[in-house]
Protein backbone atom coordinates (compact mmCIF):
# COMPACT_ATOMS: atom_id res chain seq x y z
CA UNK A 1 0.00 0.00 0.00
CA UNK A 2 2.86 2.28 0.79
CA UNK A 3 4.22 1.81 -2.68
CA UNK A 4 0.87 2.63 -4.19
CA UNK A 5 0.52 5.84 -2.21
CA UNK A 6 3.78 7.01 -3.67
CA UNK A 7 2.53 6.57 -7.22
CA UNK A 8 1.45 10.01 -8.42
CA UNK A 9 2.16 9.68 -12.13
CA UNK A 10 1.92 7.06 -14.82
CA UNK A 11 4.06 6.66 -17.89
CA UNK A 12 2.87 6.65 -21.49
CA UNK A 13 3.39 2.88 -21.54
CA UNK A 14 1.21 2.46 -18.48
CA UNK A 15 -1.49 4.68 -19.98
CA UNK A 16 -1.44 2.61 -23.16
CA UNK A 17 -1.59 -0.64 -21.22
CA UNK A 18 -4.58 0.64 -19.31
CA UNK A 19 -6.33 1.81 -22.46
CA UNK A 20 -5.73 -1.53 -24.18
CA UNK A 21 -7.05 -3.24 -21.05
CA UNK A 22 -10.24 -1.17 -21.22
CA UNK A 23 -11.01 -2.68 -24.61
CA UNK A 24 -11.15 -6.17 -23.07
CA UNK A 25 -14.55 -7.52 -22.08
CA UNK A 26 -15.06 -9.82 -19.11
CA UNK A 27 -15.88 -13.46 -19.77
CA UNK A 28 -14.32 -13.67 -23.23
CA UNK A 29 -11.34 -15.69 -24.43
CA UNK A 30 -8.50 -13.41 -25.52
CA UNK A 31 -5.00 -14.13 -26.76
CA UNK A 32 -1.99 -11.87 -26.59
CA UNK A 33 0.26 -13.28 -29.26
CA UNK A 34 4.00 -12.74 -29.01
CA UNK A 35 6.25 -9.70 -29.27
CA UNK A 36 3.61 -7.56 -27.60
CA UNK A 37 4.48 -6.69 -24.00
CA UNK A 38 2.01 -3.78 -23.82
CA UNK A 39 -0.78 -6.19 -24.69
CA UNK A 40 0.49 -8.91 -22.40
CA UNK A 41 0.40 -6.51 -19.50
CA UNK A 42 -3.00 -5.16 -20.56
CA UNK A 43 -4.51 -8.63 -20.47
CA UNK A 44 -3.18 -9.35 -17.01
CA UNK A 45 -4.34 -5.92 -15.83
CA UNK A 46 -7.82 -6.48 -17.26
CA UNK A 47 -8.11 -9.89 -15.64
CA UNK A 48 -7.07 -8.51 -12.29
CA UNK A 49 -9.47 -5.60 -12.53
CA UNK A 50 -12.68 -5.49 -14.52
CA UNK A 51 -12.45 -8.87 -16.29
CA UNK A 52 -11.86 -11.58 -13.67
CA UNK A 53 -13.54 -14.21 -15.87
CA UNK A 54 -11.36 -13.43 -18.86
CA UNK A 55 -9.90 -16.60 -20.39
CA UNK A 56 -6.40 -15.28 -20.87
CA UNK A 57 -4.39 -17.25 -23.45
CA UNK A 58 -0.69 -16.50 -23.38
CA UNK A 59 0.99 -16.08 -26.73
CA UNK A 60 3.57 -18.61 -27.85
CA UNK A 61 3.00 -20.96 -24.89
CA UNK A 62 -0.80 -21.13 -25.25
CA UNK A 63 -1.03 -21.38 -21.47
CA UNK A 64 -4.33 -20.25 -19.97
CA UNK A 65 -4.47 -17.83 -17.04
CA UNK A 66 -0.77 -18.01 -16.13
CA UNK A 67 0.79 -15.91 -13.39
CA UNK A 68 4.01 -14.71 -15.01
CA UNK A 69 7.00 -14.60 -12.70
CA UNK A 70 8.02 -11.44 -14.56
CA UNK A 71 7.72 -10.23 -18.11
CA UNK A 72 10.46 -11.63 -20.33
CA UNK A 73 11.64 -10.11 -23.59
CA UNK A 74 10.84 -13.26 -25.51
CA UNK A 75 7.39 -14.70 -25.03
CA UNK A 76 7.86 -18.45 -25.21
CA UNK A 77 9.42 -18.64 -21.78
CA UNK A 78 8.43 -20.60 -18.69
CA UNK A 79 8.48 -17.32 -16.74
CA UNK A 80 5.56 -16.10 -18.82
CA UNK A 81 3.67 -19.35 -18.48
CA UNK A 82 4.12 -19.94 -14.76
CA UNK A 83 1.17 -21.67 -13.03
CA UNK A 84 -0.98 -21.70 -16.13
CA UNK A 85 -4.37 -23.21 -15.24
CA UNK A 86 -4.39 -25.38 -18.34
CA UNK A 87 -3.00 -25.29 -21.88
CA UNK A 88 -4.14 -25.10 -25.45
CA UNK A 89 -2.19 -26.27 -28.46
CA UNK A 90 -1.48 -23.98 -31.38
CA UNK A 91 -4.21 -25.60 -33.44
CA UNK A 92 -6.75 -25.38 -30.64
CA UNK A 93 -6.30 -21.63 -30.21
CA UNK A 94 -6.76 -21.02 -33.90
CA UNK A 95 -9.73 -23.40 -34.03
CA UNK A 96 -11.34 -21.45 -31.20
CA UNK A 97 -10.90 -18.30 -33.23
CA UNK A 98 -12.17 -19.88 -36.42
CA UNK A 99 -15.27 -21.16 -34.62
CA UNK A 100 -16.07 -17.73 -33.24
CA UNK A 101 -14.85 -18.27 -29.70
CA UNK A 102 -11.88 -15.89 -29.58
CA UNK A 103 -13.54 -12.75 -28.28
CA UNK A 104 -10.71 -10.35 -28.94
CA UNK A 105 -7.30 -10.24 -30.55
CA UNK A 106 -4.60 -7.57 -30.50
CA UNK A 107 -2.76 -6.70 -33.68
CA UNK A 108 -0.23 -4.12 -34.77
CA UNK A 109 1.42 -3.08 -37.99
CA UNK A 110 4.21 -1.06 -39.49
CA UNK A 111 1.55 0.37 -41.76
CA UNK A 112 -2.03 0.82 -40.61
CA UNK A 113 -4.49 2.19 -43.14
CA UNK A 114 -7.74 4.08 -42.61
CA UNK A 115 -9.75 0.83 -42.67
CA UNK A 116 -7.59 -0.87 -40.11
CA UNK A 117 -5.75 -3.06 -42.61
CA UNK A 118 -2.17 -3.63 -41.55
CA UNK A 119 1.20 -4.61 -42.91
CA UNK A 120 3.82 -6.53 -40.96
CA UNK A 121 5.15 -8.51 -43.93
CA UNK A 122 7.29 -6.20 -46.03
CA UNK A 123 7.84 -2.72 -47.42
CA UNK A 124 8.31 -2.48 -51.14
CA UNK A 125 6.47 -4.41 -53.81
CA UNK A 126 6.32 -7.86 -55.34
CA UNK A 127 9.47 -7.22 -57.37
CA UNK A 128 11.59 -5.57 -54.75
CA UNK A 129 11.39 -5.86 -50.99
CA UNK A 130 12.84 -2.74 -49.41
CA UNK A 131 12.28 -3.90 -45.85
CA UNK A 132 11.46 -7.44 -44.82
CA UNK A 133 9.45 -7.39 -41.63
CA UNK A 134 9.17 -10.38 -39.31
CA UNK A 135 5.74 -11.40 -40.59
CA UNK A 136 2.38 -11.58 -38.98
CA UNK A 137 2.34 -14.85 -37.11
CA UNK A 138 -1.32 -15.71 -37.00
CA UNK A 139 -2.53 -12.13 -37.39
CA UNK A 140 -3.84 -12.68 -40.89
CA UNK A 141 -6.09 -15.51 -39.76
CA UNK A 142 -7.09 -13.89 -36.50
CA UNK A 143 -7.98 -10.55 -38.07
CA UNK A 144 -10.71 -12.41 -39.91
CA UNK A 145 -11.73 -14.78 -37.14
CA UNK A 146 -11.51 -12.94 -33.79
CA UNK A 147 -14.74 -11.40 -32.53
CA UNK A 148 -13.10 -8.01 -32.18
CA UNK A 149 -9.62 -6.63 -32.72
CA UNK A 150 -7.77 -4.04 -30.71
CA UNK A 151 -5.04 -2.39 -32.75
CA UNK A 152 -2.12 -0.86 -30.98
CA UNK A 153 1.06 0.89 -31.99
CA UNK A 154 3.59 2.90 -30.02
CA UNK A 155 4.99 4.57 -33.13
CA UNK A 156 2.16 6.74 -34.37
CA UNK A 157 4.21 9.91 -34.06
CA UNK A 158 6.21 10.66 -37.17
CA UNK A 159 9.10 13.02 -37.66
CA UNK A 160 9.83 14.76 -40.93
CA UNK A 161 13.23 13.98 -42.48
CA UNK A 162 15.47 16.67 -43.94
CA UNK A 163 13.26 16.77 -47.04
CA UNK A 164 10.11 17.15 -44.97
CA UNK A 165 9.05 13.60 -45.77
CA UNK A 166 7.45 11.40 -43.21
CA UNK A 167 7.13 7.62 -43.05
CA UNK A 168 3.63 7.30 -41.65
CA UNK A 169 2.56 4.49 -39.36
CA UNK A 170 -1.08 5.47 -39.95
CA UNK A 171 -0.67 5.51 -43.69
CA UNK A 172 -2.71 5.94 -46.84
CA UNK A 173 -1.62 2.63 -48.19
CA UNK A 174 -0.28 -0.70 -46.98
CA UNK A 175 2.47 -2.10 -49.21
CA UNK A 176 1.15 -5.53 -48.25
CA UNK A 177 -2.06 -6.36 -46.45
CA UNK A 178 -1.11 -8.84 -43.74
CA UNK A 179 -4.30 -8.50 -41.71
CA UNK A 180 -7.69 -7.18 -42.72
CA UNK A 181 -9.69 -4.35 -41.21
CA UNK A 182 -12.96 -3.07 -42.62
CA UNK A 183 -12.01 -3.24 -46.31
CA UNK A 184 -10.18 -6.08 -48.00
CA UNK A 185 -7.10 -5.75 -50.18
CA UNK A 186 -9.51 -5.53 -53.11
CA UNK A 187 -11.51 -2.75 -51.40
CA UNK A 188 -14.52 -4.95 -50.63
CA UNK A 189 -16.42 -4.11 -47.45
CA UNK A 190 -15.83 -6.54 -44.62
CA UNK A 191 -19.53 -7.28 -44.30
CA UNK A 192 -19.41 -9.11 -47.62
CA UNK A 193 -16.66 -11.47 -46.49
CA UNK A 194 -17.37 -14.77 -44.73
CA UNK A 195 -15.33 -13.77 -41.70
CA UNK A 196 -16.29 -14.74 -38.19
CA UNK A 197 -15.31 -11.52 -36.53
CA UNK A 198 -16.42 -7.88 -36.64
CA UNK A 199 -12.94 -6.44 -37.14
CA UNK A 200 -11.05 -3.74 -35.29
CA UNK A 201 -13.03 -1.44 -33.02
CA UNK A 202 -10.27 0.36 -31.20
CA UNK A 203 -6.76 1.68 -31.82
CA UNK A 204 -4.48 2.66 -28.98
CA UNK A 205 -1.41 4.64 -30.04
CA UNK A 206 1.24 6.77 -28.42
CA UNK A 207 -0.85 9.80 -29.37
CA UNK A 208 -4.44 8.88 -28.65
CA UNK A 209 -7.37 6.53 -28.79
CA UNK A 210 -9.24 5.84 -32.01
CA UNK A 211 -12.34 4.01 -33.07
CA UNK A 212 -14.01 3.32 -36.39
CA UNK A 213 -17.04 5.07 -37.85
CA UNK A 214 -19.96 3.30 -39.49
CA UNK A 215 -18.07 3.09 -42.77
CA UNK A 216 -15.23 1.37 -40.96
CA UNK A 217 -12.95 4.42 -41.21
CA UNK A 218 -10.54 5.31 -38.40
CA UNK A 219 -11.86 8.10 -36.20
CA UNK A 220 -10.19 9.97 -33.32
CA UNK A 221 -11.95 9.26 -30.02
CA UNK A 222 -9.70 10.52 -27.26
CA UNK A 223 -6.58 12.61 -26.77
CA UNK A 224 -3.90 12.19 -24.17
CA UNK A 225 -3.20 15.01 -21.72
CA UNK A 226 -0.18 16.04 -23.84
CA UNK A 227 -1.59 15.53 -27.37
CA UNK A 228 -3.93 17.50 -29.59
CA UNK A 229 -6.02 16.97 -32.72
CA UNK A 230 -3.46 18.93 -34.73
CA UNK A 231 -0.50 16.95 -33.46
CA UNK A 232 -2.27 13.71 -34.27
CA UNK A 233 -3.37 14.90 -37.71
CA UNK A 234 0.24 15.81 -38.49
CA UNK A 235 1.35 12.25 -37.83
CA UNK A 236 -1.54 10.66 -39.73
CA UNK A 237 -1.28 10.39 -43.48
CA UNK A 238 -5.00 10.14 -44.14
CA UNK A 239 -7.68 12.67 -43.17
CA UNK A 240 -8.82 11.87 -39.69
CA UNK A 241 -12.47 12.37 -38.66
CA UNK A 242 -12.91 13.37 -35.04
CA UNK A 243 -15.67 11.89 -32.92
CA UNK A 244 -18.34 14.36 -31.76
CA UNK A 245 -17.67 13.50 -28.14
CA UNK A 246 -13.88 13.78 -28.30
CA UNK A 247 -12.49 13.31 -24.81
CA UNK A 248 -9.25 12.92 -22.97
CA UNK A 249 -8.29 9.34 -22.24
CA UNK A 250 -8.79 8.12 -18.69
CA UNK A 251 -5.63 7.36 -16.71
CA UNK A 252 -5.07 4.22 -14.67
CA UNK A 253 -5.50 4.04 -10.91
CA UNK A 254 -2.30 4.00 -8.82
CA UNK A 255 -2.84 0.36 -7.88
CA UNK A 256 -3.01 -0.55 -11.55
CA UNK A 257 0.25 1.25 -12.15
CA UNK A 258 1.78 -0.55 -9.22
CA UNK A 259 0.53 -3.89 -10.60
CA UNK A 260 2.12 -3.21 -13.98
CA UNK A 261 5.44 -2.26 -12.42
CA UNK A 262 5.41 -5.38 -10.30
CA UNK A 263 4.67 -7.63 -13.25
CA UNK A 264 7.28 -6.00 -15.46
CA UNK A 265 10.29 -5.26 -13.26
CA UNK A 266 12.61 -5.38 -16.27
CA UNK A 267 10.49 -2.73 -18.01
CA UNK A 268 10.25 -4.90 -21.10
CA UNK A 269 7.19 -2.98 -22.27
CA UNK A 270 9.21 0.22 -22.62
CA UNK A 271 11.07 -1.41 -25.50
CA UNK A 272 7.97 -0.82 -27.58
CA UNK A 273 8.27 2.92 -26.98
CA UNK A 274 10.63 5.42 -28.61
CA UNK A 275 13.30 6.75 -26.28
CA UNK A 276 11.52 10.11 -26.23
CA UNK A 277 8.19 8.55 -25.33
CA UNK A 278 9.76 6.75 -22.39
CA UNK A 279 10.03 10.20 -20.80
CA UNK A 280 6.31 11.02 -21.01
CA UNK A 281 4.50 11.05 -17.65
CA UNK A 282 0.98 11.92 -16.69
CA UNK A 283 -0.24 13.23 -13.35
CA UNK A 284 -2.77 10.84 -11.85
CA UNK A 285 -6.00 12.53 -10.83
CA UNK A 286 -6.08 10.97 -7.39
CA UNK A 287 -2.58 12.23 -6.65
Amino acid sequence: MNNINKIQTCTLGELMIYQIALSIEDGILAFHGFGSPLVQLALHLAKRNHAPNLVLVAGATYGINPSPAFLTPTTNDFAMNRDAECHLTIEELFDLAASGRLGRMFLSGLQIDRWGNMNVTRLGNDERISLKLPGGGGGCNLSADAGHVTIWTAAHRTHADEHGRRRYRLANHCDFITSVGHRTAEGLPRAGMPYRGAGPDCIVTDLGIFGFDQEGHVQLHALYPDTSVELIAESTEFDLPVAANLSTAALPEPEMVEFIRRLDPLKIHERELSPADRGRFFQLSGA
Binding site: D77, I90, A98, G137, S143, T184
Partner: protein
Protein backbone atom coordinates in the same frame (compact mmCIF):
# COMPACT_ATOMS: atom_id res chain seq x y z
CA UNK B 1 6.29 -46.13 -40.60
CA UNK B 2 9.60 -46.27 -38.74
CA UNK B 3 9.70 -49.41 -36.64
CA UNK B 4 13.33 -50.35 -36.08
CA UNK B 5 14.16 -51.23 -32.49
CA UNK B 6 17.08 -48.90 -32.01
CA UNK B 7 16.96 -45.51 -33.68
CA UNK B 8 20.04 -44.01 -32.09
CA UNK B 9 22.67 -42.50 -34.35
CA UNK B 10 25.34 -39.80 -34.31
CA UNK B 11 24.47 -36.16 -34.88
CA UNK B 12 26.26 -36.39 -38.22
CA UNK B 13 24.14 -39.34 -39.28
CA UNK B 14 20.99 -37.72 -37.95
CA UNK B 15 21.43 -34.54 -39.93
CA UNK B 16 22.42 -36.47 -43.07
CA UNK B 17 18.72 -37.36 -43.38
CA UNK B 18 18.25 -33.81 -44.66
CA UNK B 19 18.97 -33.37 -48.38
CA UNK B 20 19.74 -30.28 -50.42
CA UNK B 21 16.50 -28.68 -51.50
CA UNK B 22 14.36 -30.33 -48.82
CA UNK B 23 11.32 -28.75 -47.28
CA UNK B 24 12.32 -28.56 -43.63
CA UNK B 25 10.00 -28.01 -40.66
CA UNK B 26 11.94 -26.85 -37.61
CA UNK B 27 10.35 -27.56 -34.24
CA UNK B 28 10.17 -25.33 -31.20
CA UNK B 29 9.24 -21.66 -31.29
CA UNK B 30 10.96 -18.30 -30.79
CA UNK B 31 13.57 -18.79 -28.04
CA UNK B 32 12.15 -22.15 -26.90
CA UNK B 33 13.49 -25.60 -27.71
CA UNK B 34 14.99 -24.95 -31.14
CA UNK B 35 17.09 -27.85 -32.49
CA UNK B 36 20.15 -25.59 -32.64
CA UNK B 37 22.86 -28.26 -32.39
CA UNK B 38 21.38 -30.07 -35.37
CA UNK B 39 21.12 -26.81 -37.32
CA UNK B 40 24.80 -26.06 -36.69
CA UNK B 41 25.64 -29.55 -37.91
CA UNK B 42 23.46 -28.95 -40.97
CA UNK B 43 25.55 -25.87 -41.75
CA UNK B 44 28.78 -27.82 -41.26
CA UNK B 45 27.47 -30.44 -43.68
CA UNK B 46 26.83 -27.62 -46.16
CA UNK B 47 23.24 -28.63 -46.80
CA UNK B 48 21.68 -25.98 -49.06
CA UNK B 49 18.59 -24.68 -50.79
CA UNK B 50 16.21 -25.53 -47.99
CA UNK B 51 12.61 -24.45 -47.95
CA UNK B 52 11.67 -23.61 -44.38
CA UNK B 53 8.12 -23.87 -43.08
CA UNK B 54 6.98 -22.96 -39.59
CA UNK B 55 5.12 -20.54 -37.40
CA UNK B 56 7.04 -18.27 -34.98
CA UNK B 57 10.81 -18.54 -35.23
CA UNK B 58 13.92 -16.58 -34.47
CA UNK B 59 17.56 -17.49 -34.19
CA UNK B 60 17.10 -20.89 -35.86
CA UNK B 61 15.88 -19.49 -39.17
CA UNK B 62 18.13 -16.46 -38.90
CA UNK B 63 21.20 -18.66 -38.44
CA UNK B 64 20.40 -20.74 -41.50
CA UNK B 65 19.81 -17.57 -43.52
CA UNK B 66 23.13 -16.20 -42.31
CA UNK B 67 24.87 -19.40 -43.36
CA UNK B 68 23.31 -19.38 -46.81
CA UNK B 69 21.42 -22.64 -46.33
CA UNK B 70 17.98 -21.34 -47.25
CA UNK B 71 16.29 -20.87 -50.63
CA UNK B 72 12.72 -20.19 -49.55
CA UNK B 73 11.13 -19.03 -46.31
CA UNK B 74 7.48 -19.86 -45.72
CA UNK B 75 7.53 -19.01 -42.03
CA UNK B 76 4.86 -16.86 -40.46
CA UNK B 77 7.19 -14.89 -38.19
CA UNK B 78 10.97 -14.64 -38.00
CA UNK B 79 12.29 -12.22 -35.42
CA UNK B 80 13.58 -11.59 -31.94
CA UNK B 81 10.41 -9.94 -30.57
CA UNK B 82 11.03 -7.11 -28.09
CA UNK B 83 14.26 -8.85 -27.21
CA UNK B 84 16.40 -7.65 -30.13
CA UNK B 85 13.86 -6.88 -32.84
CA UNK B 86 14.29 -7.88 -36.45
CA UNK B 87 16.11 -11.02 -37.55
CA UNK B 88 18.99 -9.40 -39.39
CA UNK B 89 20.38 -12.26 -41.45
CA UNK B 90 16.88 -13.29 -42.43
CA UNK B 91 15.98 -9.74 -43.37
CA UNK B 92 19.12 -9.31 -45.48
CA UNK B 93 18.60 -12.59 -47.27
CA UNK B 94 14.99 -11.72 -48.07
CA UNK B 95 15.82 -8.22 -49.23
CA UNK B 96 18.65 -9.28 -51.53
CA UNK B 97 16.47 -12.01 -52.98
CA UNK B 98 18.80 -14.76 -51.78
CA UNK B 99 15.81 -16.14 -49.91
CA UNK B 100 12.47 -16.20 -51.67
CA UNK B 101 9.71 -14.87 -49.44
CA UNK B 102 6.63 -17.06 -49.24
CA UNK B 103 5.40 -15.94 -45.82
CA UNK B 104 2.53 -17.94 -44.45
CA UNK B 105 0.15 -17.53 -41.49
CA UNK B 106 -0.03 -19.81 -38.46
CA UNK B 107 -3.48 -21.22 -39.07
CA UNK B 108 -2.98 -21.61 -42.81
CA UNK B 109 0.11 -23.65 -41.96
CA UNK B 110 -1.83 -25.68 -39.39
CA UNK B 111 -4.53 -26.43 -41.93
CA UNK B 112 -1.98 -27.37 -44.58
CA UNK B 113 -0.27 -29.76 -42.18
CA UNK B 114 -3.63 -31.18 -41.16
CA UNK B 115 -4.47 -31.88 -44.79
CA UNK B 116 -1.25 -33.90 -45.05
CA UNK B 117 -1.97 -35.67 -41.76
CA UNK B 118 -5.45 -36.58 -42.92
CA UNK B 119 -4.33 -37.62 -46.39
CA UNK B 120 -6.49 -34.94 -47.96
CA UNK B 121 -5.50 -32.80 -50.94
CA UNK B 122 -6.50 -29.62 -49.08
CA UNK B 123 -8.23 -28.13 -46.08
CA UNK B 124 -10.72 -25.28 -46.17
CA UNK B 125 -10.21 -22.06 -44.24
CA UNK B 126 -12.24 -18.87 -43.97
CA UNK B 127 -9.48 -16.40 -43.33
CA UNK B 128 -6.61 -15.35 -45.63
CA UNK B 129 -8.98 -14.11 -48.32
CA UNK B 130 -8.98 -10.33 -48.45
CA UNK B 131 -5.24 -10.22 -47.62
CA UNK B 132 -2.21 -10.26 -49.90
CA UNK B 133 -1.13 -13.73 -48.86
CA UNK B 134 -3.03 -15.10 -51.81
CA UNK B 135 -0.43 -13.35 -54.03
CA UNK B 136 2.41 -15.13 -52.20
CA UNK B 137 0.56 -18.43 -52.44
CA UNK B 138 -0.88 -18.84 -55.92
CA UNK B 139 -1.30 -22.52 -55.04
CA UNK B 140 -4.17 -21.62 -52.71
CA UNK B 141 -7.56 -21.95 -54.39
CA UNK B 142 -11.01 -20.71 -53.55
CA UNK B 143 -14.39 -22.41 -53.72
CA UNK B 144 -18.00 -21.57 -53.10
CA UNK B 145 -19.24 -23.63 -50.19
CA UNK B 146 -22.01 -25.95 -51.37
CA UNK B 147 -23.61 -25.78 -47.92
CA UNK B 148 -23.56 -22.05 -47.19
CA UNK B 149 -22.73 -20.31 -50.45
CA UNK B 150 -19.78 -18.56 -48.78
CA UNK B 151 -16.41 -18.33 -50.44
CA UNK B 152 -13.75 -20.44 -48.74
CA UNK B 153 -10.02 -20.71 -49.33
CA UNK B 154 -8.58 -24.18 -49.94
CA UNK B 155 -5.00 -24.58 -48.76
CA UNK B 156 -3.17 -27.59 -50.19
CA UNK B 157 -1.59 -30.34 -48.09
CA UNK B 158 1.92 -29.58 -46.88
CA UNK B 159 4.11 -32.59 -46.26
CA UNK B 160 7.59 -31.45 -45.22
CA UNK B 161 10.43 -33.74 -46.27
CA UNK B 162 11.89 -33.59 -42.80
CA UNK B 163 10.72 -32.42 -39.38
CA UNK B 164 13.67 -31.58 -37.14
CA UNK B 165 12.79 -31.51 -33.46
CA UNK B 166 14.58 -31.08 -30.18
CA UNK B 167 12.83 -32.96 -27.38
CA UNK B 168 13.59 -33.53 -23.73
CA UNK B 169 13.62 -37.32 -23.74
CA UNK B 170 13.50 -40.30 -26.03
CA UNK B 171 13.70 -44.03 -25.58
CA UNK B 172 15.73 -46.12 -28.02
CA UNK B 173 12.61 -47.00 -29.94
CA UNK B 174 12.12 -43.32 -30.76
CA UNK B 175 9.19 -42.39 -28.54
CA UNK B 176 9.61 -38.70 -27.67
CA UNK B 177 8.62 -36.73 -24.61
CA UNK B 178 8.37 -32.94 -24.72
CA UNK B 179 7.73 -30.90 -21.60
CA UNK B 180 5.94 -27.59 -21.91
CA UNK B 181 4.51 -26.16 -25.12
CA UNK B 182 4.86 -28.54 -28.07
CA UNK B 183 4.24 -25.60 -30.44
CA UNK B 184 3.75 -27.20 -33.89
CA UNK B 185 6.08 -30.16 -33.29
CA UNK B 186 3.36 -32.80 -33.08
CA UNK B 187 1.75 -31.54 -36.26
CA UNK B 188 5.13 -31.49 -37.99
CA UNK B 189 5.91 -35.01 -36.81
CA UNK B 190 2.64 -36.39 -38.14
CA UNK B 191 2.75 -34.52 -41.44
CA UNK B 192 6.39 -34.99 -42.42
CA UNK B 193 7.98 -37.79 -44.41
CA UNK B 194 10.83 -38.10 -41.91
CA UNK B 195 11.19 -36.99 -38.31
CA UNK B 196 14.65 -36.58 -36.84
CA UNK B 197 15.16 -35.56 -33.25
CA UNK B 198 17.89 -34.52 -30.92
CA UNK B 199 17.07 -35.11 -27.27
CA UNK B 200 18.47 -33.95 -23.97
CA UNK B 201 18.64 -37.52 -22.73
CA UNK B 202 17.87 -41.07 -23.71
CA UNK B 203 15.97 -42.87 -20.98
CA UNK B 204 14.46 -46.34 -20.59
CA UNK B 205 11.00 -46.76 -22.03
CA UNK B 206 9.31 -47.30 -18.65
CA UNK B 207 10.60 -43.99 -17.43
CA UNK B 208 9.53 -42.26 -20.62
CA UNK B 209 6.07 -43.82 -20.49
CA UNK B 210 5.56 -42.37 -16.99
CA UNK B 211 6.37 -38.91 -18.28
CA UNK B 212 4.08 -39.46 -21.26
CA UNK B 213 4.76 -40.07 -24.93
CA UNK B 214 4.32 -36.83 -26.85
CA UNK B 215 5.23 -38.30 -30.25
CA UNK B 216 4.89 -42.08 -30.81
CA UNK B 217 7.96 -43.89 -32.07
CA UNK B 218 6.65 -44.95 -35.45
CA UNK B 219 6.66 -41.35 -36.71
CA UNK B 220 10.33 -40.98 -35.76
CA UNK B 221 13.12 -41.86 -38.19
CA UNK B 222 16.20 -41.34 -36.04
CA UNK B 223 17.29 -39.84 -32.74
CA UNK B 224 20.51 -38.54 -31.26
CA UNK B 225 21.21 -37.82 -27.62
CA UNK B 226 22.43 -34.23 -27.63
CA UNK B 227 22.46 -32.60 -24.20
CA UNK B 228 22.04 -28.82 -24.41
CA UNK B 229 21.05 -29.34 -28.03
CA UNK B 230 18.73 -26.34 -27.93
CA UNK B 231 21.36 -23.86 -26.75
CA UNK B 232 21.19 -20.84 -26.94
CA UNK B 233 17.42 -21.28 -26.88
CA UNK B 234 15.83 -22.68 -23.76
CA UNK B 235 14.92 -26.20 -22.90
CA UNK B 236 13.04 -25.65 -19.65
CA UNK B 237 12.99 -27.11 -17.09
CA UNK B 238 16.58 -28.20 -17.84
CA UNK B 239 17.99 -24.83 -18.84
CA UNK B 240 16.89 -21.31 -19.63
CA UNK B 241 17.43 -19.21 -22.73
CA UNK B 242 20.97 -17.86 -23.10
CA UNK B 243 20.20 -14.23 -23.73
CA UNK B 244 23.83 -13.17 -23.31
CA UNK B 245 25.02 -15.49 -26.06
CA UNK B 246 22.11 -14.43 -28.24
CA UNK B 247 23.09 -10.79 -27.71
CA UNK B 248 26.59 -11.54 -29.01
CA UNK B 249 25.03 -13.39 -31.94
CA UNK B 250 22.92 -10.35 -32.65
CA UNK B 251 25.85 -7.98 -32.47
CA UNK B 252 27.76 -10.15 -34.93
CA UNK B 253 24.82 -10.13 -37.35
CA UNK B 254 24.27 -6.39 -36.94
CA UNK B 255 27.52 -5.46 -38.60
CA UNK B 256 26.84 -7.30 -41.81
CA UNK B 257 27.32 -10.74 -43.23
CA UNK B 258 31.12 -10.60 -43.08
CA UNK B 259 31.00 -9.76 -39.44
CA UNK B 260 28.52 -12.53 -38.88
CA UNK B 261 30.75 -15.00 -40.65
CA UNK B 262 33.82 -13.94 -38.81
CA UNK B 263 32.40 -13.36 -35.37
CA UNK B 264 29.76 -16.01 -35.18
CA UNK B 265 29.72 -18.67 -37.85
CA UNK B 266 33.45 -19.29 -37.78
CA UNK B 267 33.97 -19.54 -34.03
CA UNK B 268 30.69 -21.19 -33.09
CA UNK B 269 29.86 -23.37 -36.07
CA UNK B 270 32.69 -24.08 -38.50
CA UNK B 271 35.51 -24.13 -35.98
CA UNK B 272 33.58 -26.44 -33.68
CA UNK B 273 34.04 -29.93 -35.00
CA UNK B 274 31.08 -31.15 -33.02
CA UNK B 275 28.52 -30.22 -30.41
CA UNK B 276 30.91 -30.82 -27.50
CA UNK B 277 33.34 -28.35 -29.03
CA UNK B 278 30.51 -25.83 -29.35
CA UNK B 279 29.58 -26.23 -25.70
CA UNK B 280 33.17 -25.44 -24.77
CA UNK B 281 33.20 -22.44 -27.10
CA UNK B 282 30.13 -20.88 -25.50
CA UNK B 283 31.64 -21.12 -22.04
CA UNK B 284 31.44 -24.77 -21.11
CA UNK B 285 30.17 -26.10 -17.85
CA UNK B 286 30.38 -22.72 -16.10
CA UNK B 287 28.02 -21.06 -18.54
CA UNK B 288 25.66 -24.02 -18.74
CA UNK B 289 25.39 -24.19 -14.95
CA UNK B 290 24.19 -20.61 -14.84
CA UNK B 291 21.47 -21.45 -17.37
CA UNK B 292 20.51 -24.56 -15.43
CA UNK B 293 20.14 -22.63 -12.18
CA UNK B 294 17.31 -20.44 -13.41
CA UNK B 295 15.00 -21.93 -10.77
CA UNK B 296 17.23 -21.36 -7.75
CA UNK B 297 15.72 -17.95 -7.10
CA UNK B 298 13.67 -15.31 -8.83
CA UNK B 299 16.72 -13.06 -8.82
CA UNK B 300 18.89 -15.61 -10.63
CA UNK B 301 16.16 -16.12 -13.17
CA UNK B 302 15.69 -12.41 -13.77
CA UNK B 303 19.42 -11.84 -14.05
CA UNK B 304 19.44 -13.96 -17.19
CA UNK B 305 17.43 -11.24 -18.90
CA UNK B 306 19.32 -8.19 -17.72
Amino acid sequence: MYTQNDKRCSLTELVAHIQNGDCLAIGGGLSWREPMAALRELIRQNIKDLKLVGSAHGIDVDLLCGAGSVAVSAESYVGFEQDFGMALNYRRACETGAVKVEDNCCYSLVQQLRAAIQGLPFMPIRSVQGTNFLKLHPEFKTMTCPFTGEQLVLVPALKPDVALIHAHYADEHGNLHIEGPPVADILFAKASKKVIATVEALIPHDELAKKGVTIPYFYVTAICETPYGAHPTSCYPRYAYDREHTASYYQAAKHGLDSFNQNYLTPFVHDCKDHDAYLLAIGGKARLTILEQWDQSMEKWMQLYE
